[in-house]
Symmetry: D2
Subunit: 380 residues, 4 copies
């Protein structure tokens, strides 16, 4: 693991996610760039002293050289520190699991994309909401035609934690997420908008072609967006809206997707992830439940316990780790991975997210004009 | 009543709404332009034979001349038949209650606006959702500062009844609503988008200054929008989104408003109108109930029965009728009306709706560009 | 109307309910036993001076003698004043609509039952929740076998308005409902328990045979139950529970019914009356909506407006009035009434409710023993 | 671990729960009494061959003798196989975590109770729903007086998985749970009723003194209850109801608790465990969220991730394991455990559950009479 030392949030989540299905063991880490903190963090996690590094580059080289070296590394640093370790471990031939968004800026993203292509190793990106069983159910339903042709896509991700100027209190999560030097050009759009965008593309199997974005910085003194409104046009004619916000009181992590087609509509909410509402045209709407009647294999694949016993965020996150474990094992043993495991997001989804951020920023700076994702920079 | 003959939908709603609080008696009508149907419809409603007219112009003149003539007329015809009767009754000095949108086009709207100003009579427009107690509660909370400065406004009105090409079956409601000759330049935006727009302005006490609209005609052969996505910018800096749709399976009349300010957020849904969610920053969200703890006078004013006994659409609609009855009585007796009654929408709200439709059409035809409501035509 | 003078609650509800579907006109009343209040109340309701009575007995005699006398009377007094006016109007051959419970005690109830049988007129009892469209839908589904054989019935009606000693403040509704002289032997069980009981029998088409009741008087100094817990056994083997309470903070009028059979289960809540949850065994649960897909004729019969526009308590109440209007007209014209209208509760339901109250009181006083409804007193 | 071999359900849950917070490592097991299955199951879980036992008694002796022997054992067998291994490991001085109910019958339960007292080791019982953060929040609120004096307790646990005769298909979970030889005298009351009972006592800090039970066997040929209705009386005067069912279509694991006191009411549902509804008398009801505003230390203690990212069943289960780890470590190091860890249920709760089962069976067999829990057999 790179990052995730004492006081970090997402590092602990990655560790639980890796542990939950018993497919990973944490044996080495560059948990902090501060040597003392790296040492203490490693000790607290029962990492052997010689495998607690203060420098991820050293870690990549040494672990690659060990016969019992790590098989896969998780990068859980702030955004501006994704690219360098990713490139280091890719260069060392070590599979990578990286937090989102892919990188701090487009140039770095392209570098990582090319390195992944060169290396041939597994590269997973933790758009963790795609690990929820009912999200996979939704995708499988769309793929199977249950919704007909998609017309309308409504996705939103409201939060409220930055409704007050939390970053001025020194709260660590708020500080780096409102700092362009660490976060990149996107504030809310990078932190949560990319999740919403990824979810919409994941479920609909459609790509956003163009968008109009209206980014706002409501918090006094903020230079990154804390609220974003967008209109979306998808390949094939579907249209949509995306809203993300960090200043919407009463919302914690209100990620919500609604998709409407010629044959039916679906709705899903992250805060109540174990069910999926499905309304076939002309029939009563029904509530599909993880592991309940009507659950498809894609949902069953991502399920641990019976319907009615809620699984949550950590289980969804764990699903990506479990799917990536299968990919890693398959690669290392030279066999094809279980197709279900390929739903875990990777470099392609990382690049899509980067283009989304870039297009949104370009559109908004131009006063809110339609902007193509492909023209927003980058090669991929 | 003008319109609302046998087979009509909204006419019957207006009649129940007028009756519910016992402030109106139906004594005359031009219920249909077809004489036989007008006659039969009048008879069915116990209207005296000599007061069942086939021609609204004749009705206006004759009723104005009777000592026991009507005090107020309700116009419940399709959109293209609002202006002419409105002008006729205004000219006759009779108070008018008109269904929305105000008229079929902007020129007519301005004519009505000017006639209202000239006549000095009461002109009510049935944006009926403003009659719901918790909508009034929301407005009063905003006015009282409970939300602080408004930042974000999310409003939507999805339906699904046109997900299939219902108009090709001859269904009357679908036929006229998809026909620009009867509906005007707006499809879903005129029929339901104006309600959403009105609700947002009513509750926030803010005016939309500019918008970007992306109108879609998903139904094969449709020439009016059946889905619309918009970004909104309000005077004072708030930003918002508006979505209306007639092709979103699983939604009946999903009008929903969320408003977020510096001090709190609120959420309200038309299909569950008796409660209002209120989340003060830093406190647990609470559920305010019509007639329950925390209900403000504006809600109490619009309430008939105790909390927990749901009031619905007809009661909200009736509230406008009741408020307009007070306005009419006050005007006729030369006194000031109860201030609470002035919340009923009127010509100003009608003109705002017309500008909204015009701006949305202009924006969308131009490919989705920011368009000012004031520049969208009209004087008011 | 008898009762319902100024300051009363349920009288105003009855008047709106009668008016809503335009089947009644209020032309006479004994609105109060206090002559001045009777006079003022009548005037306020536009009742002609000579038809505003202070004495219901006089009203019954005089109205029966008038050629334009009332066709039907509504009795909306407190419980102890149901029997005498009912008997008076029945004796005069005038159809009666009576609030619930039927009477103050069993002896009176039997007298009314016999008078109804003798008179042959229409006798309606306003167990108003049976007027909700989705309650009728539920009954029709049970009757049609959609649930298979009924096994379990869970019904509850929690309120919170007597959580504090409201009656000591002089609040009129609280005073008479906590006074056995006015309410009878049942407190919460008479006021709301009878509604829950009636709803359960109405929907399941089954009769409760025996029950165990545990009545509690939590409010200091109360002599009537403000909370009741019961186990129920139905004819045919179904078993159930009934809970009613006036001391459950957070509940307004939380009447809720769940019925489970061999083929499926249903759930309905009064505070969200426009939908009915239906779970067929082995299939995803679905949400049926008044006027939506899957709505049966019994629901359509009781529906005024499209799905998604909520109807509420007043509309449900109005449905009983409308159904009873049909019964009255049919009786007076010597024809058979529309079968749908016969779902309105009458004397049979009134007697069932009285037996329910009696059995619950007997059971609880005996320490909570199984008690048969048939043995709880009465002839029917 | 004892039990939990291939094909078992709850064993896998225990393993995830133990792993989630990284406080346990699985190093030995008697996973099946079938030697081949025990061997294969152990191998699949990476247990060293010499620590995969086919006999729990052997395991207890050998592990106690090893210097690196297990510190704690989890017993996850069917009910009739709880007592013998529990006694074996207690005799060996090894801490025990046992699934619920405590044992198959009361005699065994008393034996275990006495052995726990003799041994002085930690004995945890996995009434896992007490590990949910908002359940602990509820308990802390009750303890702190937020609800005032408790009056009414409504608890229910409906399921639907035995609505059809699943046991006749050979489904393993259904077979043993409907077999008195393996389950004991209680069917649904032992399997889920004990959870509901435990939850009610845990949150209210009150003990049930007497109950009336009406147990039903709806499934053809069943000899154990698949539905149970009970009235409860608590020490101090509170009264309640308990319903558990395995034949209620549409319910998966609908455990739900509502508690009403003189100052307020609360409601919690297992299927949506991250929030707790709280209605103070005379104030708007509010929604408390795990890790949100108003969350108390007891909730924070049991929380891993921020509000809005749902935690679920596995995290709640893990909380017990984590709390018990603290108890085990404290015992082994001779220090007092963190008081928060003492909320994990133990032998006392196990005995309460056994008395609950016994009293319910006695009451029901006697035709439904009030039965004291203390008189239902047993010493405690």
């Amino acid at each position: 693991m790179v990052g995730g030392g004492q006081g970090a949030f997402i590092g602990a989540v990655h560790r639980i996610a890796a542990r939950l299905d018993d497919r990973y063991e944490l044996v080495a880490g560059a948990l902090s760039s501060d040597p003392a903190r790296a040492h203490d963090s490693a000790a607290a996690l029962h990492i052997a002293p010689d495998r607690g590094y203060a420098d991820f580059a050293e870690m990549a080289v040494r672990e690659a050289a060990r016969p019992d070296g790590i098989e896969v590394v998780a990068i859980v640093t702030p955004n501006h520190l994704h690219a360098a370790p990713a490139l280091a471990f890719l260069a060392a031939g070590i599979d990578v699991i990286c937090d989102k968004p892919l990188t701090h800026g487009m140039a770095d993203a392209i570098a990582v994309e090319q390195a992944v292509a060169r290396s041939g190793v597994v590269f997973g990106l933790t758009h963790n909401y795609t690990g929820y069983p009912m999200v996979r159910q939704a995708r499988e339903m769309v793929a199977g035609g249950a919704l007909g042709d998609i017309r309308v896509v409504q996705v939103e991700y409201p939060q409220d934690w930055l409704a007050t100027p939390l970053e001025t209190t020194g709260q660590k999560q708020a500080v780096w997420r409102t700092d362009p030097a660490q976060s990149g050009a996107g504030g809310s759009i990078g932190d949560i908008g990319t999740h919403a965008f990824n979810l919409a593309e994941f479920v609909t199997l459609l790509e956003v072609e163009t968008l109009v974005a209206d980014l706002a910085m409501f918090g006094e003194g903020r230079v990154l967006d804390d609220n974003a409104h967008m209109l979306l046009r998808f390949a094939g004619g579907a249209r949509g809206m995306l809203w993300c916000s960090q200043v919407a009181p009463g919302n914690n992590n209100g990620l919500r997707l609604r998709v409407y087609g010629t044959k039916g509509g679906i709705a899903w909410e992250q805060e109540h992830p174990n069910s999926l509402q499905f309304a076939p045209v002309g029939e009563p709407p029904r509530s599909l439940t993880r592991a309940g009647p009507g659950a498809l294999p894609a949902a069953a694949h991502a399920t641990r316990i019976p319907a009615g016993h809620p699984e949550g965020y950590l289980e969804g996150f764990a699903q990506l780790y479990t799917d990536l474990a299968e990919q890693v094992l398959a690669r290392r043993s030279g066999r094809a991975p279980d197709p279900s495991s390929l739903l875990a997001p990777g470099i392609r989804e990382g690049m899509r997210g980067m283009r989304f951020i870039a297009a949104a920023v370009v559109s908004s700076r131009a006063g809110g004009v339609w902007t193509a994702l492909d023209g927003a920079g980058g090669s991929g």
